[in-house]
Amino acid sequence: MSSPQQSVSFQSEVAPRRKRRGISIELVPWIFLAPGVIVFAIYVVIPVFQSFWLSLFDWDGLKPTKTFVGLGNYNELFQDEQFWTSLKNNIYWLVVFLLGPVIGLAIAILLNQKVRGMRIVKSLFFFPFVLSGVVVGLVFSWFYEPSHGLLNTILGMFGLPSVSPLSDENLVTPSIIAAGLWPQIAYCMILYLTGLTAVDPEQIEAARIDGARGLKLLWHVIIPQLRPATFIAVVVTIVGALRSFDLVQVMTDGGPFGRSSILAYFMFQQSITNFRMGYGAAIAVVLFLIMSVFIAFFLRHMIRNERG
């Protein structure tokens, strides 16, 4: 962390006076920054490094002493079947979650009309996003409930066999992902609805005169112009997929037999339930490294934009 004393080359477009009431102008931005930077460092930046360090120890979280085990936790992790199941599920989440931007765009196009009452329709499509993961988890647990849930009632009406999505090893992860997609699609939809308002109408008219319509128009004219919305939609979807925890915890506790576990949940379970803080930290490090790829990608994009 840079300290307030660090020298600054001040070259604002507006040249303020050098000194005022004894406070050097170089210090001013640091005074504004200090509180935010300090709390953010304490609660976010430093803990990341602490977790890396902690992942080299065996520790139950209670004893005052930690046992150094080097890369032992990682060694064990890579032999742990539950780790591979969780990692596979994470990848599954990541891939299927990318349906979020696609379906979100489809709904946005469906709703991008100036019709009376459309505002409320848009809000109704959007508002699952403001529900907490716990509520979404409970809503879908009831929907999926094997003996009386609405899903099976509907399947029954069509003469289809009933399913128990949350206790079937093969159905459990897709069923939770479907619940997770519900608010995620809503988020992507709103990003695209905003993006669509900014699409240049003259270009659309020009393309229409050239005979482009429907999917062709969408693909060649609209989607390229929606790039900023797509970028954000994909970023928040990836982050959302890797961050998901609430639904797994609420709907299945990782079950049946750990089949719906993901790294975030596996980490929580090892640290809190099994008192293996060092092992948990090692899992968190792996999850963090996966996320870092996307964070780096996002930062690179952002810095490029900044430099215009």
Partner: protein, 281 residues
Amino acid sequence: MFPAPIQDASAPKRYAYYAAIIIALVCWLMPLLAVILTSLRSLEDFNVGNYWGMPKEWKFSNYADVFRQTPMLRYMLNTVIITLPAVFGAIALATLAGYALAKYRFRGNLLIFCMFVAGNFVPFQILMVPVRNMAVRMGLYDTYWALIFFHLAFQTGFCALFMRNFISTLPNALMESARVEGANEFQIFWNIILPLMRPALAALAVLIFTFIWNDYFWALVLVQSDAVKPVTTGLSALRGEWVASWQLISAGSLIAALPPVAMFFILQRQFISGLTLGAVK
């Protein structure tokens, strides 16, 4: 406009469109409609197997039962006690930081900005053990402060990103003329910049209110007793106690969801402008 305005389409196409919207909306909200219906059903209905038919009577008293039979009110209150100071603190710190990042050039500016942005994306699990230990060591574990401090600090990252981008759009000429008139840097911030930021402050407040209100993970990690538990972990605990009383679980879920949902419907414009920041441009 894309797609072509539906008003220009033929009448059958228009009606097909309206029908499609309604069907899509019903499918979209189906799981939620199921919960609403269940929350109003009586126990007798369940006993005779009437799960999805017309309820014999509409039991609004299920909602009262949630408050009567469980600490739901306490949980809601706890969430409010945790959420409000965290929202206020995060926005205050982020406004200061965002101003520095937007309007001053100094070495480290971009680096600090990147730190806020990157930090905002890290998985919570990488912070979990150290943050929990810190709370335990400071004697904050299982208190409101454990959650208030964490949310305040974490949301500062997101808010700083938002604030910096918003303040960047304010013209430099404003600050320049204030400097010519002899205002110092802090007066400029307080008297010139801050009043112009009201719309951004409102948008951000609504948005992070929802984020913090809905937090589940940190509530699970940092507190455990009913006296401080927020509504998310509270609800999840109640579910364990009620097991098959779906009418109560449904009513409880809807109660827990109501404040952010109400906030969203009332302050929709602010909410969406906060969320879609950067979706255009």
